[in-house]
């Protein structure tokens, strides 16, 4: 016991070095009826042992499953402290006190005993300690209720809110004149008492402070002219912003993205952009959509874009290639595994459709549907996500016109498609007509691809889409 006392004393000394607090652990070991110990110095908070209350059904022990707080955290009355489990019942233990957690008596998975200390809470001395009997689970008192209190023989009537205000300002209620019913002390009485004591001007009500700008400009010159008049000067208050920065570690998928994009940075990108007139394609898709639906497939524009890209890659295979690490060899990939950028909850994922060069537009649509449903369910497999050779990103579905896409290694080219807009254009006869315009932004690896190649590929791709019938000639 002796050793205990010394140890506890030194720990308290560590917390509040100025004051010496005397511990007497034996005081609360036995009868819970006894008042809890008090320290000699007023500034030192009182440490209360919060015991595990009765669970019911004659249960004497529980397992601690989760702590909601840790040592050093401050808690308010009714905050959740921990979760314990006993025989299929999960119990949330809430705090009886306001204060700071000083000690957790159990670790996760330990057995805790009913009636034994669960945590030690340091209670703010000025707030006083609730005795064990006080702690009954009753709803908080309504503001209308009044309590009588004997202070120096006087009976002073005041609501708990008024009492708190007095306490916070170190005012003795016995010195305040009550103006309420039965000499009840009201909030105004406390404020008046304060005003008299300090001569301070009480803060004006919020309405008075809101002075319209017009009045302000008028008020200032007026004040300088006539100093005798009392004009409430606008109080300039700094704009209070209570937001806090939040720092999170870069982990998991985000970390992998950091690595990939870091590698992409090594690729010297160049961009090439153009606008495509999709008027004919829009019409064609409208005709084909119901046919696809009959076959149970949703037909978007992407299968057309992808098939046209594949036809273009047949003519310009360097865009479907890969440069090795040391830039020694270029590998021309036989398969056109065209990746489609997808936005999911986790972020950007790029599954690819394999062998687009031997797929029909309908085949591509089927495969896209499959990848899209797997993507939204979070069930894409490794084979879906690897082996891509060329990528298209339909950012236009979200919005935007021109973009600057980043090439996904080990590929050498990528295209970003903007949204389809209805815009006025001139036709061959010089007449204005309604056109469905989409912008494309290509990025390519300038180490092995030159601007002319990219431009020619883009022109070919554009011609297939502006005149879809021409695709029929080259379809394999």
């Amino acid at each position: 016991v002796c050793i205990h006392r010394v140890r506890s004393c030194s720990s308290i000394r560590f917390i509040k070095s100025k004051y010496v607090c005397v511990f007497d652990k034996s005081a609360f070991k036995f009868s819970h009826q006894q008042r809890l110990f008090r320290t000699s110095a007023v500034s030192c908070g009182q440490i209360v042992q919060f015991k595990l209350s009765d669970i019911g059904e004659g249960i004497t022990e529980v397992t601690v499953k989760e702590w909601y707080i840790k040592e050093g955290d401050s808690v308010s009355q009714f905050d959740s402290i921990c979760e314990v489990q006993s025989d299929k019942a999960s119990v949330t233990i809430t705090s009886r006190y306001d204060g700071i957690i000083r000690k957790l008596h159990y670790s996760i998975d330990d057995i805790a005993f009913v009636g034994k200390p669960l945590v030690d809470i340091e209670i703010d001395a000025s707030k006083g300690v609730a005795s064990e009997e006080d702690v009954v689970e009753t709803p908080p008192m309504s503001h209308e209720e009044h309590t009588h209190q004997e202070i120096k023989g006087h009976k002073t009537l005041a609501t708990p809110a008024v009492r708190r205000l007095a306490m916070e300002n170190n005012i003795k209620l016995s010195e305040v004149v009550g103006t309420g019913k039965d000499n009840r002390i009201l909030k105004e009485d406390i404020l008046n008492y304060l005003a008299k004591q300090t001569g301070a001007i009480l803060p004006p009500s919020p309405k008075a402070e809101i002075i319209p700008p017009l009045q302000k400009t008028e008020a200032v010159p007026a004040a300088s002219k006539d100093k005798g008049r009392k004009i409430p000067l606008p109080v300039s208050r700094p704009i209070a912003f209570a937001g806090k920065d939040r720092t999170e570690p870069v982990i998991g998928f985000q970390k992998a993205m950091v690595k990939t994009m870091g590698a992409a940075l090594k690729i010297p990108h160049f961009g090439y952009c153009d606008e495509i007139d999709l008027t004919q394609l829009v019409q064609l898709r409208e005709e084909l959509k119901p046919l696809a639906e009959i076959r149970g497939v949703k037909l978007s524009f992407m299968p057309f874009f992808m098939k046209a890209a594949s036809l273009g890659l047949l003519q310009y295979p360097i865009l479907n290639a890969s440069l090795d690490e040391n830039c020694q060899n270029v590998t021309y990939k036989a398969s056109h595994n065209i990746g489609v950028a997808m936005d999911t909850e986790q972020g950007l994922i790029v599954p690819n459709v394999k062998n687009v060069q031997v797929c029909s537009v309908f085949d591509i649509a089927v495969e896209l549907n499959r990848l899209q449903s797997l993507g939204s369910a979070g069930q894409l497999g490794t084979s879906d996500l690897t082996g891509g050779t060329f990528t298209l990103s339909n950012i236009g579905t979200v919005g935007g016109t021109y973009a600057k896409p980043v090439i996904l290694p080990p590929e050498v080219a990528i295209g970003a498609l903007g949204k389809i807009q209805v815009l006025p254009r001139f036709n061959g006869k010089g007449e204005v007509f309604k056109a469905q315009i989409m912008n494309v932004s290509w990025s390519a690896d300038h180490r092995i691809i030159d601007g002319a190649t990219m431009a020619r590929f883009s022109n070919l791709w554009k011609s297939y889409l502006e005149n879809p019938a021409s695709m029929l000639l080259d379809l394999k």
Partner: protein
């Protein structure tokens, strides 16, 4: 329907906990409500809402609900230990973690759920279960059903037809239990069979039991009949009208804040992230070319995320730089097949473009994913 929900508004606004709430001169000792939804998350959210917002001092509540196929694990359980997550994903069966303790159960429309809400002081599970047994015996006197001291209800002294769990808060408590009427026992046994090996954890384990549907004992019984019988018995015992009020768990006006509660129950952080810390110590058997490799894997998972990861690969099987990249990326990521797949495939982009390497990498990653 509009009148009904207006009436519900009034009912529930009466019982919301306010300091001045004292106007239940109608003084009915109980309220019976039934959910019109079969969504497990919405229904669990209703339980949370009643637990947090209703004053149960003057009026206790019986909540009746059924769910479309779902596996529900207890507050402190480990889903990998309790069920076949792969099968759940394949069959599109939902996984939910409830706030009460206890073990894992399978719900479908052939199972009914009963929740008894009381104040913390009036929490009494045995009484509730005896009420259920009484209701069953009133409906079918020949049924051999009784309550065990583990708070199960057994049919014919051997088959479990009901399991129990409870949640106690500061001032209120609830006890809920299942009742097997006509559930799919085949799906039940296959989803509640975990294929994951080498798991070590202090999570609450489930106690497997032999189950039977009441329908098998008496084909004339339906879920509706059982719900009605139990409601009737509850009404009798609480001296209230045998009237079931229907509620819509999506009604934000009736249950303010319910959609947030529903959302929270569906988050990964709640369903998987609340799993107590566990470790995996297992062996991957990988067939590669002409040989079979046995790879020892050790992982620690905390809050559903990989804290520590060790894969005992043969030397030089993967370039060491690549292996450390993989481990570094896995550390801190979710113990989840989707996260691992996207992570591994993204990292593959920065590997040397070597077919041999790619196939080894894919093989390893696919096997790792099978652990999740």
């Amino acid at each position: 329907m509009v009148l009904q929900s207006l009436k519900n508004c009034l009912w529930l606004s009466c019982v919301l906990r306010t300091p001045k709430a004292s106007f239940w001169s109608t003084a009915s000792g109980g309220l019976i409500i039934q959910s019109i939804s079969n969504d497990v998350y919405q229904n669990l959210a209703v339980e949370d809402w009643i637990h947090d917002h209703m004053d149960l001092e003057k009026q206790q509540v019986l909540f009746l609900w059924r769910n479309s196929p779902a596996v529900v694990i207890g507050r402190h359980q480990n889903p990998w230990q309790e069920c076949n997550l792969r099968l759940l994903r394949q069959k599109d069966i939902k996984l939910a973690r409830r706030r009460s303790g206890g073990g894992t159960v399978y719900h479908d429309l052939g199972n009914i759920n009963l929740t008894f809400f009381t104040t913390r002081k009036k929490y009494e599970r045995m009484e509730n279960l005896k009420l259920v047994v009484k209701a069953l015996k009133t409906l079918r006197p020949q049924l051999d059903v009784h309550v065990t001291d583990r708070y199960d209800i057994l049919l014919d002294r051997q088959y479990k037809i009901s399991g129990t769990a409870a949640k106690l808060g500061r001032t209120s408590a609830y006890h809920h239990c299942t009742l097997l009427c006509n559930a799919d026992k085949f799906v039940l046994s296959s989803v509640l069979n975990s294929p994951y090996k080498g798991l070590k954890s202090n999570a609450t384990p489930s106690v497997p039991a032999l189950v039977k549907n009441l329908f098998e004992e008496d084909p004339s019984l339906t879920s509706e009949m059982l719900l009605d019988a139990i409601a009737k018995e509850y009404a009798t015992q609480h001296q209230i009208d045998h009237h079931i009020t229907l509620i819509n768990p999506a009604d934000e006006i009736l249950l303010p804040g319910i959609s947030n509660k529903t959302k929270e129950l569906q988050t990964w952080e709640w369903v998987y992230g609340k799993t107590p810390k566990f470790s995996i110590s297992t062996c991957l058997t990988m067939a590669y070319k002409d040989s079979v490799l046995d790879i020892k894997v050790n992982m620690d998972v905390k809050h559903g995320r990989i804290e520590v990861c060790n894969i005992d690969l043969p030397e030089q099987w993967l370039p060491p730089g690549l292996y450390s990249e993989l481990v570094k990326s896995l550390t801190g990521s979710k113990f989840c097949p989707n996260e691992t797949t996207t992570l591994a495939t993204t990292l593959l982009r920065v590997c040397p473009q070597d077919d041999e390497l790619h196939s080894r990498w894919s093989l390893l990653c696919e096997n790792m994913i099978r652990l999740m």
